[in-house]
Symmetry: C2
Subunit: 163 residues, 2 copies
């Protein structure tokens, strides 16, 4: 069997973070967008794991670090990061996760494990195509797709096989 996707197996997660931050800096430079210290720190916090983080979790971390932060601080940073394709909002969880394909034009598909909470972001052209087709068949002009799959990741299926 092929090896599991990153979130589902041990890995040097610091590499994920570093990569994400490096990508973010490059993307913001290209787009003449200002990746300010707060925005960068929020992105880093979001990338602490492959589990989505709530806005108030981020806020708590900032506050613990002594930052003078209030809800708008966090929501503004998250808005900025979303607009530049650096984080995604998971609507079914009211939480945020780092974008695994920053810079690439893509329609995110999220596999959300209900047991361990990890999320894998996929780009599935077949899925995007089928969705586009279904929308067009109704003469609907699709602009934004929310596709979130809850279930059990490979690891958690083996750990809790009875359901």
């Amino acid at each position: 069997m092929a090896s599991q996707a990153l979130p589902y197996r041990p890995h040097n997660h610091q590499a994920c973070v570093s990569q994400a931050l490096a990508d973010a800096r490059a993307i913001c430079r290209e787009q003449n967008a200002r990746l300010t210290p707060t925005r960068e720190r929020v992105l880093e916090l979001i990338w602490q794991s492959h589990k989505p983080l709530g806005a108030y979790d981020v806020l708590a971390e900032l506050t613990a670090e002594g930052q003078n932060a209030a809800p708008p601080t966090v929501y503004r940073a998250l808005d900025f990061l979303q607009q530049h394709g650096l984080v995604h909002r998971i609507a079914s969880l009211n939480a945020f996760i780092g974008c695994a394909h920053a810079g690439e034009h893509h329609t995110g598909m999220f596999l959300i494990c209900r047991n361990c909470g990890n999320v894998l972001e996929l780009t599935a052209p077949g899925v995007s195509g089928a969705i586009e087709g279904a929308a067009q068949a109704e003469n609907f002009r699709a602009e934004d797709v929310t596709l979130e799959i809850a279930g059990l990741c490979p690891r958690c299926q083996s750990e809790a096989p009875h359901d």
Copy 2:
């Protein structure tokens, strides 16, 4: 061109409501579930249009009717209706809409017009299949799919053609 789907054109909406209520009664009878007056009234309110309704909108209507309702009243009724496949929650809007395919086993796909707010629920086997396939390719056991497409419905495309 084929005629537009129901939400996008004038129709005798009362027929939608009656049908939905009749279906709900039949389904609850089959499942030995109690469609109490409050639950039925909430379902009817949700079906007032093809636009999703927030829980607090439902609550306001109940209160206006003199019902002794609090938030849990509404959320309980909505939970019941969801569990029996009579309404869907639209995660990207925090709102609820009547299920257009009650009784059928289906994965809902929702086309949400950002202009008029109407929502069309589709069953697209090709889409479901593609999603299932993508999940299986990652050894992920999909249990619940959230698929919501925001965009412009046919009517609103013609009315506001410049974008």
